[in-house]
């Protein structure tokens, strides 16, 4: 019988050692690949769930406010519009004067002044005359009109039973937001502080606009 070069004790251990080594290598490969894929899959699941919950929250918020938000946005846009509100403010103050029975004797609109936080300011000056009580009433109601008129300087003088008030009020405007948040960004509900501001601006006297109905072309009379 030919004698093997490998000792018999070693020969009997080769197969089990080989099996265990193969198992260890396979295990290491499976572990490395598997753990990496599992953590990747977990991240994907978490991200998907997060996106879904953000979208669900967004839909819920939008459905909740859909009945009121358009009117509120119009009132808010009237309070701080996106165009120079000088003429609108003047018109509103004139209407207020007429309602309170004071006479507008002078008025003026200043130039645009850059303010903080992307706001631009326009100063409107109005001088009214009337009884002392009416003039005081006019002055105290200046901040009840939209666009918001913030009184700056007020001077009331009285002589011979007639009172005169000179008021300088600032109204503000700012450009409109230009983009919507991306679908993965959350849209938050209105806070109670924001709701307070909305109820304040909803109570302001809104400017009345006359809308002209479109007219069909009519035959022009012959001028000759």
């Amino acid at each position: 019988m030919k004698k093997s070069l490998i000792p018999p004790n070693f020969q009997v251990l080769i197969t089990p050692f080989g099996l265990i080594s193969a198992m260890a290598i396979l295990g290491a490969v499976v572990y490395n690949v598997g753990v990496a894929r599992i953590s990747q899959q977990n991240l994907q699941v978490a991200q998907t769930k997060k996106n879904e919950s953000v979208l669900a929250e967004r839909v819920s918020v939008l459905q909740e406010v859909s009945g009121t938000v358009t009117t509120q946005a119009k009132a808010a846009d009237a309070a701080v519009p996106n165009i120079n509100p000088g003429l609108l403010t003047l018109s509103q103050l004139r209407q207020l004067a007429s309602k309170i029975s004071v006479t507008v004797v002078d008025f003026g609109i200043g130039s645009e002044i850059r303010d903080v936080g992307g706001l631009t300011r326009v100063e409107t000056t109005i001088v009214v005359e009337g009884s002392f009580a009416n003039v005081v009433s006019f002055v105290s109601q200046i901040n009840t009109v939209a666009p918001i008129a913030v009184p700056g300087k007020i001077r009331i003088t009285s002589a011979g039973g007639l009172s005169r008030a000179s008021v300088t009020a600032s109204s503000y405007f700012a450009p409109l937001p230009t983009k919507l948040p991306s679908l993965t960004e959350p849209v938050t509900k209105l806070t109670s502080a924001e709701a307070d501001v909305i109820s304040k601006i909803s109570s302001l006297s809104q400017p009345a606009f006359l809308e002209l109905a479109p007219q069909p072309p009519a035959p022009r009379p012959n001028p000759f």
């Binding site: 197969t15 913030v150 009331i156 849209v187």
Partner: protein
């Protein structure tokens, strides 16, 4: 019958080595079983999570369609939030309106014989009035004190003219 080992004793593995080989074979078998179970577990995990991701993506698509249909509401909400922020800024800059309300409350509480001459309202409110006699002057000052609208009330001027009576100038401020 007795066991007969025909192998020469020098090529027969020792008992300890045989036992070790057996143990190692068992370990390998257990390892293979663990590996197989882990593999099946991972496969199941992948299948389950893939199904979950697919169904979540389908739900997201549905939600995106709903968000698209509510786009005008979303635009209004974004506009509203932007304007509310601006209104807060504007109202924060309004320091005179509270003084107007306070001064209005004081002015309307003047006794009938107190004639206002000049009123300036700003960060400091200045009121100049003419009062015909001392009893009305006392009533006016009492009304002013009772109103308690401003933190500081300064008497800035006090004069008397036999034709118009007392001329009183007062400055009021909250600082």
């Amino acid at each position: 019958m007795a066991d007969i080992n025909l192998l020469p004793t020098e090529i027969t593995p020792k008992g300890f080595t045989v036992r070790l080989a057996q143990i190692l074979r068992n370990v390998a078998t257990v390892g293979l079983a663990v590996l197989l179970i882990s593999g099946v577990g991972m496969g199941a995990f992948f299948i389950l999570t893939s199904v979950e991701i697919r169904s979540s993506t389908a739900r997201q698509d549905q939600l995106k369609t709903t968000v698209k249909s509510l786009e005008s509401t979303e635009q209004s909400l974004i506009l509203l939030k932007d304007r509310v922020g601006k209104v807060k800024q504007v109202l924060g800059a309004d320091t005179v309106s509270p003084s107007v309300q306070k001064a209005g409350a004081i002015i309307t509480s003047f006794p009938p014989d107190v004639a206002p001459k000049e009123i300036q309202i700003g960060d400091i409110t200045k009121i100049t009035v003419t009062v015909s006699d001392t009893s009305e002057l006392v009533k006016f000052m009492s009304a002013l004190m009772a109103a308690n609208k401003f933190k500081r009330v300064d008497l800035k001027g006090f004069s008397f003219s036999p034709t118009s009576g007392y001329l009183v100038s007062i400055e009021m401020a909250d600082k």
